[in-house]
Amino acid sequence: MDIRVQEDPFDLGVETSAFAARQKGMGAIVTFTGVVRDLDEGVLHAMEIEHYPGMTEKALQKIAEEATSRWKLGDIMIIHRHGILKAQEMIMMVATSSRHRVDAFQAAEFLMDFLKSRAPFWKKEASGTAADWVAARDEDEDALKRW
């Protein structure tokens, strides 16, 4: 299990390759990557991510352990950034490996659903001169109910 909370950027390709290379006997690898998206065409969009040092790592660890207990997984990786991020930058990624695709997909979706609403990160979006905290979406809270 590899869980990192960091301000520095990460290289999606390098991390994905390295994760895959560490697996033994796994037939399926799933990755999810969250990217800062340009909200409107041409409007430069930036994001600031605040987090709760100490609790963040514990929360991610707990979510990863829960996934490990629910599905047959080879491995889990979570990288989540904080600080200032520009449009198109990678915010975070998760990777899962399993012998079969269903477990790898389910675990990755579970990690994302819980990471989104249960790990202490808060996003502030800036477009033009305005900056606002991103509101939690009801559908993200609802997504937890399926697990």
Partner: protein
């Protein structure tokens, strides 16, 4: 006990962290104590349904007891990922 604030709760209250000397019985008692201090606390805690609380870095409830707690944090619903 340390009280921590994040995101817009931090912005409304104006500090990320403060120490309090009293030991309220529950999270709700702590909220009431803070609310009685100044308008900025009243503003931050106006709608508790928009807030989440963690006691010693574990998500908790407003009726949770605080005996033995070293750290309480208030923040809006999380928006990671």
């Amino acid at each position: 006990m340390d009280v921590l604030y994040f995101a817009w709760v931090r912005e409304r209250i104006g500090v990320p962290k403060e120490k309090i000397d009293t030991v309220p019985a529950t999270v709700m008692a702590l909220v009431d104590e803070l609310r009685s201090r100044e308008a900025r606390y009243e503003a931050a805690f106006a709608d508790l349904s928009a807030l989440r609380v963690a006691v010693d870095q574990e998500l908790s409830d407003f009726d949770a007891p605080l005996d033995g707690a070293r750290e309480v944090a208030f923040f809006p619903p999380m928006t990671g990922g």
